[in-house]
């Protein structure tokens, strides 16, 4: 509310000045400077969130408060900077600054939207999330489990297993399951969940009922791998925007500093 009120006050004051002087205030004028300083202050505060996160045990306000400040002041800084520049791009440096600032703001808004949607999707679509950093360990575990389960079908007391349920499931493991566990996106019989169901139903028909338990376990392994793949994708969507937002913000802060020095030096 406070941010919206500040934006409204800023906009009203800007409109008043435009009406009174019939031209927008320049960046170097007192009102323009005031917009610039307050906008920069908000940007700096927003950027301080990164510092705050480096010191999580610091008792200088809950992280949630800092995050809200980051979002609202970050958003509010955009109109302030627009008022500061009088809605014009200016020279090459200020143009570069405005382009960066726009990308950063848009990526931030995108991130905000994504954070409202993706966690819910993850919760609904992935019944058992794995610890993201340990996803590869988990996938290796699935590989081992699948191989062990297939080996458990090897007929006892026989040297060869040709024509037995073991040979059928083993072939299925080598040709479809293993490649799917390595890369669920590759084209294969198990790529689509619907096809996978059909394939497993077919395999069940090919083997006697004693082997159905093993086939069911293999089906569950495939579904778990699918869930991990989905989790990795959603995790990427949830965090990839930061690869744009954070480095560009750092770059922009440097340019803001250069812009301030140059403006003070040459105005």
């Amino acid at each position: 509310m406070a941010a919206l009120a500040t934006a409204a006050v800023g906009a009203a004051s800007y409109a008043t000045q435009v009406l009174l002087s019939s031209s927008p205030p320049s960046g170097g004028s007192w009102p323009g400077l005031a917009y610039g300083i307050s906008g920069t202050g908000m940007i700096v505060f927003a950027a301080l969130l990164a510092v705050r996160r480096k010191f999580p045990t610091m008792r200088v306000g809950r992280m949630q408060v800092w995050m809200r400040g980051h979002v609202w002041l970050g958003l509010l800084s955009f109109p302030m900077i627009l008022f500061h520049g009088g809605f014009s791009l200016g020279g090459p440096l200020t143009t570069a600054l405005m382009v960066l600032f726009t990308i950063i703001t848009l990526s931030g808004i995108f991130g905000l939207v994504v954070q409202q949607i993706v966690p819910k999707l993850m919760m609904e679509q992935i019944p058992a999330e794995v610890v993201y950093e340990q996803a590869n360990v988990f996938i290796n575990g699935l590989r081992l489990k699948a191989a062990e389960r297939v080996e458990s079908l090897f007929p006892k007391g026989r040297d060869e297993a040709d024509g037995t349920p073991y040979s059928i499931v083993k072939e299925f493991l080598e040709k479809e399951i293993k490649p799917f566990l390595d890369d669920p996106k590759r084209k294969g019989l198990l790529t689509s969940p619907k096809n996978a169901e059909i394939v497993f139903t077919h395999i069940r028909k090919l083997v006697p009922p004693e082997a159905h338990g093993a086939v069911e376990e293999l089906r569950q392994i495939i579904e778990k791998r699918r869930d991990v793949a989905r989790q990795i994708t959603l995790h990427y969507v949830l965090h990839a925007w930061l690869l744009i937002h954070v480095p560009l913000s750092a770059g922009m802060l440097i340019l803001v500093f250069v812009h301030a020095i140059m403006a003070l030096r040459y105005s």
Binding site: R53, F55, P56, M58, R59, M63, M123, Y132, H239
Partner: protein, 512 residues
């Protein structure tokens, strides 16, 4: 006569005693020679020179020792100190948190020195202020290690040249069934330890020497086999019990299940509620492993309360506190259906870290904050069971059935009336509680400290271990994990209260 082959494993060191040699000891009289022959090698005679270490605290073991000659020192070398997480610098915002060993006597806060004695696996208790005692001829130590394979509770060093019998479980059990041995050990306990044991219980501190003598003569020393019920809920109360060995489970019946109220170990007591006006037992107490207890009959208990009203008042206070805790728990249970709650193991929890999965962006700031607060060792993993839209993150759940409390060789882990699990300063870092926690929420924290080497008597740097649990960042008003969550997704809650406030009918649907 056909010689019977030994059928048990042998103790690696020491002089193996033949059945004939064993039967020369009066306390072996009455045990069949055949049985002793079968157990050849399960009991050995060992000689220790002055200063030699017989066993060390925290070590795994499977034998008990009976002193035949000489005296031994029994003590704890691990510093009696408190693990405290505090800022490295006193001022400044950018201060890092660091875990330190603090105290005593400065140890304050949650693990205040309420107890004056550390219960150990021997016939004596150790003073918290100076944890050293002596055992002499006729004393037995290491019983719980031998019977239940708990880690050694203390270090034992020969105070002079001494001879001991070291025995495996089967021999100890034979001896415990032997009347002669039992009488001998009980006499020694009554003569030398009982008054100290009674006095180690804070509320008995005021008993006069005369009355103690009176009690010593009248109390019964009783023992119970693992699983045996000592007293049953709703039965008439006829005695008060003080535990001298083993662990007792205290539980109550509820529609649909049984709830563990607490576990009690050496030095703790039970049975007072029934004797103080209730007449009926309010809970069932059963032996978790082999339990030996001091039984004070109702008439003696009443005489004690009449003669020392202050003790009665103190006991009443404890009884009221226990009843109130039980009442609170049963009140919570009335609002939910036990089986539903048990299904997710959440029944166990008294305090959970819940992560709202609809808000959590999986940034792991909570985990990083926890690690930053505890020397880089996180006490929390963002993984666990799901309950509705919440993830029950792995962090101490302060279970209603706190299995971690079972078998601590020095009784260092227990629960406060607030139900918070605390680990006392005399923890010897054996790791049993960490092994027993079903949720892997207890960590062993290592510290390099200077302490005396019991063998050489010299000060040297050693790595000492202390068990730590999530302390809810007690030095702050809010746990670091919750404080550091940027998305208001992490919450520390009492699950019953929290979910009840949400929508009890939705989360715990009533059975049709």
């Amino acid at each position: 006569m056909v010689e019977t082959e030994p059928i048990v494993r042998k103790i690696a060191h020491g002089e193996i005693l033949t059945p004939e040699q064993l039967l020369e000891y009066p306390f072996f009289k009455g045990i069949s020679e055949k049985l002793l022959q079968k157990n050849l090698g399960a009991v050995v005679r060992r000689t220790f020179k002055k200063g030699e270490i017989i066993c060390r605290e925290g070590e795994e073991g499977s034998t008990a020792f009976y002193i035949l000659k000489g005296t031994v020192d029994i003590f704890i070398t691990t510093a009696v100190s408190h693990v405290q997480t505090q800022p490295e610098a006193k001022t400044g915002w950018f201060r890092k948190m660091k875990s330190l060993l603090v105290g005593p006597p400065a140890a304050t806060g949650k693990t205040q020195q309420r107890q004056r004695y550390i219960p150990i696996d021997a016939s004596v208790d150790l003073s918290v202020a100076n944890p050293v005692a002596q055992l002499e001829e006729g004393d037995l130590f290491g019983e719980m290690t031998c019977l239940s394979f708990y880690p050694r509770s203390a270090t034992v060093r020969a105070a002079e040249d001494c001879v001991v019998l070291e025995m495996l479980r089967n021999i100890l059990q034979l001896l415990q069934k032997n009347k002669e041995f039992k009488v001998r050990v009980e006499d020694a306990y009554r003569k030398r330890t009982l008054d100290r044991h009674l006095r180690s219980v804070e509320i008995f501190g005021e008993l006069s020497s005369d009355f103690l003598e009176f009690l010593k003569a009248r109390v019964e020393l009783v023992d119970f086999a693992p699983g045996e019920i000592i007293c049953k809920q709703d039965e008439d109360a006829d005695a008060f019990y003080l535990i001298r060995l083993g662990n007792v489970k205290v539980s109550q019946r509820y529609p649909g299940g049984e709830m563990v109220l607490t576990y009690l170990s050496r030095g703790q007591y039970f049975g007072e509620i029934g004797l103080l006006g209730h007449s009926k037992r309010t809970a069932t107490c059963s032996a978790l492993d082999k339990v030996e207890a001091v039984k004070i009959r109702k008439e003696d208990f009443d005489a004690m309360v009449r003669q020392f009203p202050a003790i009665g008042t103190q006991l009443q206070k404890v009884a009221d506190q226990r009843l109130e805790t039980n009442r609170q728990q049963s009140k919570q249970l009335e609002t939910v259906f036990l089986n539903d709650f048990l299904g997710q193991s959440l029944m166990d929890a008294n305090n959970l870290l819940l992560i709202d999965l609809e808000k959590c962006t999986r940034c792991d700031d909570c985990v990083r904050a926890c690690a930053a607060s505890h020397d880089g060792i996180t006490r929390l993993i963002r993984d666990g069971v799901r309950y509705d839209k919440y993830l029950v993150a792995t962090s101490c759940r302060q279970c209603l059935d706190p299995l971690c409390m079972v078998g601590c060789p020095v009784g260092a882990i227990h629960r406060q009336p607030s139900r918070e699990i605390v680990i006392e300063d005399w923890c010897i870092g054996c790791g049993l509680c960490a092994k027993q926690c079903p949720y892997e929420n207890i960590n062993l924290h290592e510290f390099v400290v200077k302490q005396m080497d019991p063998e050489t008597g010299q000060q040297k740097e050693v790595v000492t271990r202390k068990a730590t649990v999530c302390d809810l960042c007690g030095q702050h008003t809010e746990p670091s994990c919750v404080y550091a969550c940027p998305h208001d997704a992490a919450h520390r809650v009492d699950p019953k209260e929290f979910f009840h406030l949400q929508s009890i009918d939705f989360i715990f649907p009533k059975p049709k």
